[in-house]
Symmetry: C2
Subunit: 727 residues, 2 copies
């Protein structure tokens, strides 16, 4: 019996921190599918199985949507409550947040909503009054203490249980979706710890958002739920389809924007996004959005994070400030990326990186100390954005809306800025300027610390303040909220280089097609300006910083090099290590494996002809030989290894041969040595290859791996090629 008829366990799997072979994975899935389809004709049971297999994708999407929506709702509610806990507590029950607490008290009128008897600030609770410098200091102190407690818990939990839970996770998810394997990055521990610490980190008042990490949380849900279905558990390519959809779900619950979420996944994070996935992502994103709405964490049955309704049209001349905001966003984006990357590199290379807990505590302390005195930084960042986006109504109690002579009759919004501004507006503007500088600086050091941290919200906050600030008293703004929104889009665009998805997310927040044009103008300008100042978005920059093997699909490879310039072996190197199809013994192959560290070997007809037969993965070879030595009788070091279809008759006294044709890839990809590298890069991207063999006039000449390409690209861009760490 030939033992190789049944697959050896482990053959065809990947090691951690390695790249998958998309072609092989997809081919495996098609084989599986074919088998089920063939069997389904035989019996009713098999037919049922085949139908359930076809619908398992949809079921999985439904589950991912439900789970991620529920988690997002839980995170929203807890973060809201804990943020309020820094300021005070509800007497009706400590589990009520400020807003909830005041809903229950009937005495509150609309105006005095913030002052309801049941909600006690810490000073009121401890010293009985909320007035006077002592009470202020009391509140201040409690605020800082809670913030420190939350952030300490967050960083400790991350360090103790799930180091992968820190950061926003989007750079890693992009890399994973492109075919890289990081075991545990999307596991259940990461999910649990990230969910908890995200709430803690957001509540601590650090300058970070929960939107990016929600994408990570949704992807964890997707990955964990994949284990329920063999189809997805066993196949790395199929699993990545689910993860792409999960990324869409993440943005969908973060902003209440399902279409924007799908486009985000398509534009920003996904690598392989077939149309079937588009439709399923859309389904999952909708399920998640409606789950979140039925949980109703904001208490207003609204789907979206920042609900705005503008009524006035904008004037064509206003495009000038919108474009200026775009320029500001682009410059800020480029500056932020540089500063943040420099800071993160410093963290990686100096002793700073050895004290992550201390770092988090110091940053939290500085943030809390500086944030408390300014009401715009004391409130949570998403509340701030919400306030900036909203236009002044007549009953608005916000400082920003304190314009003089508010008549009781309905005035058109056009008239609003023409009225003289009250003193509060000037105070507000002054406070906002301080908040802007503070947010800009503190976000640079915050993003990248060892706590979950997203930068959608801080970036948007910077832009929203700048936009609203443009509409300072005297400026001729029709809708100040729109300026805040355009500014937010511009800054977010500058940092992440998102385009369509950003505009669509913003469109879903307002719902008016009219406002797409300003948003588009600002986003476009911001992207151009930012691209002119630095090619990469923040996520790509972090991918590069971590040395992940990510082949960017947006950037064109623009150098005129050929495959022969990139392939190994180089001219001065020893020749390529190959295996002959019928001439090597187990011992020879084992010593070849021991001497080299290549992850695979080409199989040739003979050393002289160098005619290519196939390609064999190192891991598969090692496992198979080990397995054969253990299980297959008579296989010893002197046994010859055959990759041919038919094994020639062996001389009588020789040990039995080892047939390994089964583990050889019979269809390795080849290019000629004269192929332009831009074409090679295109092939690698589109087909998702790990390696490609190079031939010249039909003879095997060398090999190009994904790592070789990335190193070559780094070299061409005058960067350090050794920064690419993985294969």
């Amino acid at each position: 019996m030939d033992l190789l008829d049944e697959p050896v366990p482990g053959v065809g799997t990947y090691e951690d921190f390695n790249t998958i072979d998309w072609v092989r994975e997809k081919s495996k899935d098609r084989d599986r599918h074919r088998e089920i389809a063939t069997k389904s004709k035989e019996s009713t049971l098999a037919l049922m199985k085949s139908i359930s297999d076809a619908f398992s994708g949809w079921l999985l999407m439904l589950l991912v949507g439900l789970m991620a929506g529920a988690l997002a709702g839980g995170i929203d509610i807890s973060a809201h409550w804990m943020t309020d806990l820094k300021e005070g507590v509800c007497l009706n029950g400590f589990w009520f947040n400020h807003e909830h607490c005041c809903w229950n008290s009937n005495e509150t009128t609309f105006q005095e909503r913030d002052k309801c008897p049941n909600w006690k600030s810490w000073a009121e609770l401890i010293v009985g009054t909320n007035d006077g410098p002592f009470a202020y200091i009391m509140n201040y102190l409690m605020y800082v203490c809670w913030a420190l407690l939350f952030s300490f818990l967050a960083v400790s939990l991350v360090r103790a249980f799930a180091p992968y839970a820190c950061g926003s996770g989007i750079p890693e998810i992009k890399t994973i979706l492109s075919g890289f394997i990081i075991r545990g990055y999307l596991g259940k521990w990461t999910l649990m710890i990230k969910t908890i610490t995200l709430v803690l980190a957001v509540s601590s008042g650090l300058s970070l958002g929960k939107e990016g990490p929600l994408v990570h949380v949704a992807c964890c849900c997707g990955n964990i739920l994949c284990h329920l279905f063999t189809k997805y558990r066993r196949n790395e390519a199929k699993r990545r389809e689910v993860l792409s959809a999960a990324a869409a779900v993440g943005v969908s619950v973060a902003f209440g924007a399902p279409i924007g979420g799908v486009l985000f996944s398509l534009e920003e994070v996904s690598y392989y996004f077939p149309l079937k996935t588009l439709w399923r992502s859309f389904f999952a994103a909708l399920v998640a959005a409606f789950t979140l709405r039925s949980i109703n964490p904001f208490g207003n049955s609204r789907l979206v994070l920042f609900y705005v309704e503008f009524h006035s049209p904008w004037h064509l001349l206003e495009l000038i400030p919108f474009i200026l905001l775009g320029i500001f966003g682009g410059i800020w984006g480029a500056f932020f990326i540089r500063a943040n990357i420099a800071w993160c590199r410093r963290r990686k290379t100096t002793r700073l990186g050895h004290y992550p807990v201390l770092e988090v505590l110091v940053v939290t302390a500085v943030t809390a100390l500086l944030a408390f005195p300014n009401s715009y930084t004391r409130m949570s960042t998403s509340e701030l954005i919400s306030e900036l986006f909203n236009d002044c109504g007549l009953l608005d109690s916000s400082q920003l809306c304190n314009y003089a002579n508010v008549s009781v009759t309905k005035i058109s919004s056009d008239a609003l800025p023409d009225r003289p501004a009250g003193p509060d507006v000037y105070t507000a503007m002054w406070q906002l300027s301080l908040a802007l500088v503070f947010k800009m600086l503190i976000t640079v050091v915050t993003f990248g610390m060892k706590v979950p941290s997203g930068l959608f919200i801080p970036s948007m906050a910077v832009g929203a303040i700048a936009g609203r600030g443009w509409c300072s008293p005297g400026a001729d703004c029709i809708t100040p909220g729109l300026y805040a929104m355009v500014g937010a889009a511009a800054c977010l665009g500058g940092v992440t280089r998102m385009t369509v998805s950003l505009v669509v997310i913003m469109f879903e927040l307002t719902g008016g097609l009219e406002y797409i044009v300003p948003l588009m103008a600002a986003t476009m300008t911001s992207k151009w300006v930012a691209d002119a100042l630095g090619r990469e978005g923040i996520y790509e920059a972090h991918i590069r910083l971590n040395g992940y093997p990510f082949l960017e699909s947006k950037e064109e490879f623009s150098h005129k090099t050929l495959a022969m310039d990139v392939m190994r072996p180089r001219r001065s190197d020893p020749p390529l290590s190959v295996i002959t199809q019928d001439g090597m013994s187990v011992e020879e192959v084992e010593s070849l494996i021991a001497e080299t560290s290549y992850s695979g070997f080409p199989v040739v007809v003979s050393h002289e002809s160098q005619r290519l037969v196939g390609f064999v993965q190192r891991r598969d070879l090692v496992i198979s030989i080990e397995n054969a030595r253990k299980r297959q009788e008579g296989v010893v070091s002197a046994s010859r290894i055959f990759f041919t279809e038919y094994t020639p008759p062996q001389p009588p006294n020789s040990p039995p041969p080892l047939k390994l044709r089964g583990i050889m890839d019979l269809s390795p990809f080849t290019v000629t040595d004269h192929t332009a590298m831009d074409i090679v890069v295109d092939i690698f991207r589109k087909l998702g290859l790990r390696q490609c063999l190079v031939t010249h006039n039909g003879r095997l000449l060398g090999i190009i791996t994904k790592k070789d390409i990335l190193k070559h690209m780094a070299q061409m861009a005058n960067r350090d090629p050794d920064s690419i760490l993985f294969n």
Copy 2:
């Protein structure tokens, strides 16, 4: 001097009805780009050129958006006017349409809007009254005559000037975008004639829509405007990027749905859709939508074709009728495709096809004769849909809204269906049922005639009638308009198999995220049901009918065949025709070209070794030899052709050699004979190949072309492989 240093004109271009080589085109564009980038460092002028080159894409998008938006506006206005001309004429000026005419008259009240003194029906104009059977017959006759006149003009113009202007154009555009060349299909004559005849065909009252043809019109605009920019004129791949964006523009102006348009292009028509194109398409779609709005053809400053505003939420139980509508849509879609394809095949194969003008006139006459008596078929189909989508307001004069006991106080919509229906509602229901049967049958014979004809609107009409019909008096509908909308989406989905884009287009019509769920449920059901009854959408079916070489990217290739089963030569065939790199004379090559009809030849080291060097296109070879014989001194039949890098010294008396390495593709794609066909199909799709060479152990064995793959796929699906006509 080596003449081959300067390119021979014609080398690298394609013949009509042939497939382009995407890899070569994209590589050419990268070369161009590299050259500009290198030059830009030399002088300021070159730098300016490089900047203008970078922005030319955006400028082109702007122009496409403006032109397509303007054309769409013109088409809307003319079609509206000519549709009304069938019924009567305006005394203020014949160029006013009915609505416009009545705006000007101050006497009309809201209720009596249809009866304004300045608008005269033909009977009023000729016999002075609108009452009595004689006047009715008069109007009837005029209606039919105008319809016949319009359709006669339409079909005659199409036949005389631009045969490509007929049909919806989407199947051909899909094929062109996948890399096929049909010269003149997107030319200026087609544009001009299609624009005019589209208006005529729509006005004639035939059961067809202008939405599909608008995509063709927009693509013509895109193609024509490409001629302004060398970057796009010279490169087939770049031009297809513009065409993809233009398709988005077409849907954007057709429905006023820019995001839906972009998704339509991505999901339905495009083949190669890089992210850069996504962003540009979005820009163009927005420009077009706003151009159309500023033309304001509907007179209501609305962007969208069917503006609806629903306020009531839907009940979870209503999902059952929505899913039933989905099933209806799916069944209708599958039935329509079968019936329409059977009819079109009959037209192609029998004598029916010889009398296109007569066919159009007969169908028009039947349509007009049957349509006039029923008010729901007499009005234009888009008006009908609009009326069905709209919910009953209290002041509505529509028959459908004639419910008894309409109280003056605002009643919640829930209560509406509970009120007893008036007699008009029953009449309306009866008329709608007749209209449904009529539309279903007449559309089958209409789509595919030699006039511009889209089927978005007729399909939506069928669905809308069915949906509204579900809400017959007694049924428990909260929002009857929503049922019409869901029905329309279901039927359109069944016919075209659109998914995400359809839901997003419908979402953009209503603007409420709430209604996505019903739309999605219906669309999903409809697609599943329709797919179960027949694999292909209407566009794919028409592509198949016409034998275009289109490699569907949505369908998985699921058979377990290998490259060696598909490649030519087959086992019994003579061996592959190859050219040796240094051994053949001009005469030998010419006779090889004359004896075979292959569109290209592999170049090998020698016949014995069969080691592959490169691939040379037949067209390039023919042109180059012809050119050399004319221009290069001494090249005669006995001259030897060299594809090698260095030409060995020739014996003294021999004629000068012909060096053709320049036209050889040095990096032909190869696969091994053991490569599974699903992988080969994947490579062809993703890289856009024309052909691929097959090797075995490093020796050239055969070739697989796109046509071979399509023939193989047809064979595996038990279809006639000879239905694939082009390469």
